[in-house]
């Protein structure tokens, strides 16, 4: 591995280790409490250990005791997404986003924050609603000062929906979050030369992958092109010797 890349990986690992240790230490202090805060602390430990079902239950328990515990409501969305329960995650995300759209939750493994609207956007994408997700991320961008995810999510969605220029507009907000390192590299390429950005017009892509005629299609500007037909020209007609059509 190149030295500068190894240095970067080491720095990231150290940063993650520090944040995870701090999150664990803080949660450990309340693990045995019967309170909503205790259930929240157990949820965090389960989440860090990837016990998502148990984490979701703990966060739900916390909310049952204190329905205004916004951190538990936000983290419940995260573990439901991680536990592949997109419908439940969307319901939970709508709940917190409607109640407190400006709420921000800190990642357990970093000092990066995600707002309730970003969590709603994530849940919408996982429910195959990218257009609604874009609107949610836009609100997160304008309403939340600390949100470090909405810009990256918007850039990903704009690339995916064939709007590379809009993706480039998010580049500055993406660079600070190490989770978007690959995306940041792609956007950096695009800033040098927009032609280097992935551009997929969804319509033309569907056209492309829906073709199945023989041969390699000649796409020009997203449309398959072919010659006109010239009747009476037999130079192109191979002799199909024993073709017998009744």
């Amino acid at each position: 591995m190149p030295r500068d890349k190894q240095t970067s990986e080491t720095e990231l690992a150290n940063s993650l280790s520090k944040s995870l240790r701090e999150s664990l230490d803080e949660a450990s202090k309340k693990l045995n409490d019967d309170s909503a805060e205790g259930a929240l602390a157990r949820g965090k430990v389960f989440q860090m250990a990837s016990y998502f079902k148990e984490a979701a239950q703990s966060y739900s328990d916390a909310l049952a005791q204190d329905n205004n515990l916004d951190e538990a409501a936000a983290r419940l969305v995260v573990v439901q997404l991680k536990g592949r329960q997109p419908e439940k995650a969307l319901s939970s995300a709508m709940n917190i986003a409607a109640r407190k759209p400006g709420f921000e939750v800190k990642e357990l493994s970093s000092n990066q924050y995600a707002s309730a609207m970003t969590l709603l956007g994530d849940a919408l994408v996982h429910n195959n609603r990218p257009t609604d997700a874009i609107e949610a991320y836009k609100v997160a961008r304008t309403e939340s000062k600390r949100d470090a995810f909405a810009a990256g999510r918007l850039a990903q969605l704009f690339i995916a929906t064939g709007e590379p220029k809009k993706a480039l507009e998010q580049a500055r907000g993406v660079a600070a979050n190490p989770r978007f390192r690959d995306l940041s590299r792609v956007l950096a390429l695009g800033e040098k030369n927009a032609a280097l950005l992935p551009t997929f017009r969804t319509g033309s892509l569907i056209d492309m992958v829906a073709l199945s005629d023989h041969g390699r299609p000649l796409f020009v500007d997203g449309t398959a092109r072919s010659a006109t037909l010239a009747w009476g020209d037999d130079q192109w007609c191979a002799d199909i010797a024993d073709l017998d059509i009744k």
């Binding site: 990642e107 992935p198 892509l205 992958v209 041969g215 000649l218 010659a227 037909l229 009476g232």
Partner: protein
């Protein structure tokens, strides 16, 4: 077979023929792209061979079409304006190779093979066997090109991942098309059969080859939740 049925089958074979003919231009463009990238000679030679193969495929198809329409037909003029405007930068060339080669030709080759198995006219079957063999080689050329370009231009890996992920995510959106009675007897797969072949080829050929390139199947459409 009544005249209307013959005309329908002839029209489908003419569409196929024009598609094969357009492939010559697609490979001509690919040859220029390979030259622009400094690609190795074996890729260039295979791309040039593919152009020749496609000329033969077009001739087979026009020849078959004539048997149904009772009229000779061939390709007329072809608009090639803007053919090189979609970008000659490495990332655009890579995307075109993935979509047109790794996806389309891999599926086309399998469609031709299955069509050859179902056809009831031996002469059409013989042509389809040749077409299927050639198309499989052309598809393999696209995969070898992707292997090569990702080694030559490793910074393009995220673009390749995005492109594969999006092609996989959008593959199922196929419109219903009209079909002609007994068309499979004459070497033309029904839309429903093509859909089945497409699904099977994605599952059994394309996804495994993507895994050999990356070690995993890229999916960039869903955001990873925060931790």
């Amino acid at each position: 077979m009544d005249s209307e049925h013959r005309e329908q089958l002839g029209r489908l074979w003419l569409e196929t023929a024009l598609g094969e003919h357009a492939s010559v231009a697609a490979f001509a463009r690919f040859v220029l792209h390979l030259l622009s990238l400094g690609a190795p000679p074996e890729l260039l030679l295979d791309a040039i061979q593919a152009m020749k193969d496609e000329v033969h495929h077009a001739r087979f198809s026009f020849g078959i079409a004539r048997q149904f329409t009772n009229q000779a037909a061939g390709p007329g003029r072809m608009n090639i304006s803007g053919v090189l405007d979609d970008g000659d930068d490495p990332s655009s060339i890579l995307r075109a190779a993935i979509l047109e080669g790794c996806f389309e030709e891999t599926i086309s080759a399998e469609c031709a093979r299955v069509a050859g198995e179902r056809v009831e006219v031996p002469a059409i079957g013989a042509a389809l066997v040749q077409i299927a063999d050639d198309e499989a080689k052309h598809a393999d050329l696209a995969w070898r090109f992707v292997d090569w370009i990702l080694k030559a231009y490793p910074e393009l890996k995220p673009i390749a991942e995005d492109c594969f992920a999006w092609a996989l995510a959008n593959h199922s959106a196929i419109e219903e098309e009209e079909s002609v009675p007994s068309q499979e007897n004459y070497g033309l797969l029904l839309p429903s059969s093509r859909r089945q072949v497409r699904e099977a080829t994605l599952r059994e050929t394309i996804i495994p080859r993507i895994k050999t390139i990356f070690g995993y199947v890229p999916t960039t459409s869903l955001p990873e939740p925060i931790s």
